[in-house]
C-alpha cells in the first residue's frame, strides 16, 4: 500500500462504513434486539483508517504531501490535513468505544454511529480539500450529519432547542461562506485554493470582503465570540460522546476550513492574522468569564471550549501576522491537545452523567452539586476528569500546558508589543480559568457524597477504557511534548504555504 492508496482508503472508509453501520443496527432493531454491531463496525472502520493514516505518514515524503485528483477537484494531503485527520480519528475511536454503553438506555440509536462516521469522514475530507466549493460541501456534510446528533433526544425540550439554534445559525454561516465563494470565484476565475493564492499578490476590495465573509461564516462553526451562541446549547445538550466530538474536532474543523479559505487569500495574511489575534483575545476573556459562574458542568465545559479556541486563534493569529511558524505550530498543537483534553472531559462527565442520571432514565443536566464526592464511588472517572480539567487549566506536566507554552513561545518570539500583550492576556486567562476548573476537582474529592452519587449506578468498564487511553495520551504528551512536533511543524508550514513543492 503506497501513500496514494492509503489516502484514498482514508477518504473512503468512513463512507463505506456509514451505511454498513446503519444497516447492522437497523436490522438488529427490526429483530427487536439492542443495536450492538454498529459500534464495533464503526470502531473497526476507524482503526483501519488509523492504519491507513499511519501508512501514509510513513510512506509519504514529508513536507510535501500527496495530491489526489478526483475529476477536476483536487485533494491535497499536507500537514494540516494529517493533523486534523489524526485528531478526528483518535477522538472518534474513543467516542465510538464510549458511546455504545452510554446509549444503552436509548431504544433507537441505530443512526448514531452511522452519522458519527459520516461526520468523521467529512472532517477528514474537509482537511484535505483543495477546492473552495468542495471545501464548503464537506463542511456542509459535517453540519448535516451533526444536526440529529445534537438534537438526539427529540423528546427533550433542551435538545430540540439546541438543534434548532444550531441548524439556523449554521445555515446563516453557510450562506455567508457561499457568498464569499461566489465573490472569490468571480474575481479569481478559479476555485482551487493554491491557484487563487498564486494568482494574487495583492487583493482588491471585493476579495477583502470575501475574506471577511469567510471569517464570519466559518467563524460561526469555529465559535468566535460573538458568533458562538449556538455552542453552549449544542455542546451541553448533545449526548456526551457528541459533545466531545463537537468540542474536540467540529469547531476545530471550522477553524481549519477558515484557515484554508483565508490562506487562499493569503496576500493579506498579515491582516487576517491580526484579526484572528483580536478574536483570540475576546474568545479567551469572554469564554472564561462566562464559564466562571456556570452551574451545569457540560455548559461550563462548553464555554471553556470558547476560551480554548481563543488560545488556538492567538497562536494561529500570531503565526500569520508575524510569520512565526512556531506560534502556528503551537496553535496546531493546542488543537490536538484540546481535542484530547476536552474530549476526555466530556467523556468523563458523560460517564458520571450516565451513572448518576441517564441510567435512571432521566435527562436532567448534571450540576456541580451532583458530582460532589463522586470520587468515592467512581474513582477512575473522577481522576480522569480531574486530569482533563487541570490539563485544560494549563497545569504542567499535562499536554495542555505544553501546547499553551508553545503558543506563548511563538508570541514572545514575534517580539512585538501586540503579540506579547496577547500572550500576557493568555497567561492571565489561564490562571482565571483555574478559578472554575479547580472547584470542580475539589467537589469531586469531597468525602460526603451527594445524593445523586449515593443513588448512582455503576459505570461499565468499557466506558472507562477510552477515558484511560485519553488520559494516558495527555500525560505522555505532557512529558514528551516533542512527539507531536513533526506533525505540528508540518501543519504550520502547510498553512503558511511553505514546503509544498
Amino acid at each position: 500500500m503506497d501513500a496514494n492508496m492509503a489516502v484514498i482508503g482514508l477518504l473512503a472508509l468512513p463512507f463505506i462504513g456509514a451505511p454498513l453501520t446503519y444497516l447492522a443496527d437497523r436490522l438488529a432493531l427490526r429483530r427487536g434486539d439492542q443495536p450492538r454491531f454498529g459500534q464495533w463496525i464503526a470502531l473497526a472502520i476507524l482503526l483501519l483508517s488509523l492504519y491507513c493514516l499511519s501508512v501514509f505518514w510513513f510512506s509519504s515524503p514529508l513536507q510535501q504531501g500527496t495530491w489526489v485528483l478526483v475529476g477536476s477537484v483536487a485533494l491535497h494531503w499536507d500537514g494540516l490535513s494529517v493533523l486534523l485527520a489524526l485528531t478526528t480519528i483518535l477522538l472518534g475511536s474513543a467516542v465510538t468505544l464510549f458511546s455504545g454503553s452510554y446509549l444503552a438506555e436509548e431504544k433507537a440509536h441505530d443512526k448514531y454511529f452511522s452519522l458519527l462516521l459520516l461526520m468523521i469522514g467529512s472532517i477528514i475530507g474537509l482537511g484535505a480539500s483543495n477546492d473552495l466549493f468542495n471545501l464548503w460541501l464537506w463542511f456542509e456534510l459535517m453540519a448535516v450529519s451533526t444536526y440529529l446528533l445534537v438534537a438526539f433526544y427529540p423528546q427533550e425540550k433542551g435538545s430540540l432547542e439546541a438543534g434548532v439554534k444550531y441548524l439556523v445559525q449554521s445555515a446563516v454561516g453557510s450562506v455567508l461562506i457561499l457568498l464569499a465563494i461566489s465573490i472569490t470565484y468571480t474575481y479569481a476565475g478559479t476555485l482551487q485554493l493554491d491557484g487563487i493564492r498564486a494568482r494574487f499578490s495583492d487583493l482588491n476590495s471585493a476579495l477583502w470582503v470575501a475574506g471577511v465573509l469567510f471569517v464570519i461564516g466559518f467563524g460561526i462553526k469555529a465559535a468566535l465570540v460573538p458568533l458562538h451562541t449556538w455552542l453552549p446549547d449544542a455542546h451541553a445538550q448533545a449526548p456526551s460522546g457528541i459533545s466531545a466530538m463537537l468540542s474536540g474536532v467540529v469547531i476545530e474543523a471550522g477553524l481549519v476550513a477558515m484557515l484554508r479559505a483565508l490562506m487562499a487569500l493569503g496576500a493579506a495574511e498579515i491582516h487576517w492574522g491580526i484579526l484572528l489575534m483580536g478574536f483570540g483575545a475576546i474568545n479567551m476573556l469572554l469564554g472564561n468569564l462566562l464559564a466562571l459562574r456556570q452551574h451545569q458542568i457540560k455548559r461550563l465545559l462548553a464555554f471553556s471550549s470558547v476560551a480554548q479556541v481563543g488560545y488556538m486563534l492567538a497562536g494561529i493569529g500570531v503565526g500569520l501576522a508575524y510569520q512565526q511558524p512556531v506560534a502556528l505550530a503551537g496553535g496546531m498543537f493546542h488543537l490536538f491537545t484540546h481535542a484530547l483534553m476536552k474530549g476526555l472531559a466530556f467523556l468523563a462527565v458523560g460517564a458520571l452523567l450516565y451513572a448518576l442520571v441517564l441510567s435512571h432514565r432521566q435527562h436532567t443536566p448534571l450540576t456541580l452539586e451532583d458530582v460532589c464526592g463522586a470520587a468515592q464511588r467512581y474513582p477512575l472517572a473522577s481522576l480522569t476528569l480531574a486530569i482533563a480539567l487541570l490539563g485544560l487549566g494549563g497545569l504542567p506536566p499535562l499536554a495542555g500546558f505544553m501546547s499553551k507554552w508553545q503558543i506563548l513561545v511563538g508570541g514572545f518570539s514575534a517580539q512585538t508589543d501586540a503579540s506579547v500583550a496577547l500572550m500576557i492576556l493568555a497567561g492571565l486567562n489561564s490562571v482565571l480559568s483555574l478559578g472554575y476548573y479547580a472547584p470542580i476537582v475539589n467537589r469531586l474529592y469531597r468525602h460526603q457524597p451527594s445524593e445523586a452519587v449515593l443513588r448512582g449506578n455503576p459505570v461499565p468498564n468499557v466506558m472507562i477504557l477510552p477515558l484511560l487511553i485519553l488520559s494516558l495520551g495527555i500525560l505522555v504528551l505532557g512529558f514528551v511534548p516533542s512527539l507531536m512536533n513533526p506533525i505540528n511543524d508540518w501543519a504550520a508550514l502547510s498553512v503558511l504555504g511553505l514546503g509544498m513543492h
Binding site: 456509514a18 478526483v70 443512526k111 427529540p154
Partner: protein, 167 residues
C-alpha cells in the same frame, strides 16, 4: 433593464413572503420568488439550472412546506414590535451596504479563460466528488429526518407539562 425588472419582482415577492401573516401564503410567495430567480438565471444564460430551480425550488420545496404546515398547523405570526427590529434592520442595511460597496469595483466584468466544456462533463466528470458528497448528504439528511420524526414513547408522558409555550 429586464434584469432589474425581474430582480425587483423577486425582491417584492420575497418581501411579501416575509410580511404575509399566513404561513401557506408565505410559502407560495416563496415559490414566486423562486420562479423569478429561475427566470433571472435563464436570462443570464443558465437554462439548465433555471429548470432545476423551477422544479425543485418552486415545486418540490413548496410541496414540502405545504406538507409541514399541514403537520404543524397555521399559527398566528404577528410580528410584535421589539427593540431588535429596528436595530437589526439598521445593522443589516449597514452590512449589506458596505459589502455591496466594496464588492463592486469599477471593473466588475473580467471574462477570463472562457471554458467551453459542456455542463454534463463538468458536472459528472469534473465535479464528481461533489456528486458523491451530495449522495452522502442525502443519506445523512434522510437519517436525520427519520430520527427526528420517529415517534418517541416518552412523548405521551410529557404531554401534561406541554402547553407552556402556547399563547
Amino acid at each position: 433593464m429586464l434584469y432589474a425588472l425581474i430582480g425587483v419582482g423577486a425582491l417584492g415577492c420575497a418581501i411579501a413572503a416575509v410580511i404575509t401573516k399566513r404561513l401557506l401564503l408565505s410559502a407560495i410567495w416563496l415559490a414566486f420568488t423562486s420562479a423569478l430567480v429561475a427566470l433571472e438565471m435563464y436570462l443570464l444564460g443558465g437554462p439548465f439550472i433555471a429548470v432545476i430551480e423551477l422544479s425543485v425550488g418552486a415545486g418540490l420545496v413548496t410541496v414540502l412546506f405545504v406538507f409541514a404546515i399541514n403537520l404543524t398547523g397555521e399559527e398566528n405570526t404577528y410580528h410584535s414590535p421589539s427593540v431588535l427590529k429596528g436595530l437589526a434592520l439598521g445593522c443589516l442595511l449597514a452590512c449589506l451596504a458596505l459589502t455591496g460597496y466594496w464588492v463592486l469595483p469599477p471593473t466588475l466584468v473580467s471574462p477570463s479563460n472562457p471554458d467551453t466544456q459542456p455542463l454534463a462533463t463538468i458536472l459528472w466528470e469534473g465535479r464528481r466528488l461533489d456528486i458523491w458528497l451530495q449522495a452522502f448528504l442525502i443519506f445523512a439528511g434522510a437519517l436525520t429526518v427519520l430520527g427526528l420524526l420517529r415517534s418517541a414513547p416518552q412523548e405521551t408522558s410529557h404531554k401534561e407539562e406541554n402547553p407552556d409555550g402556547l399563547p
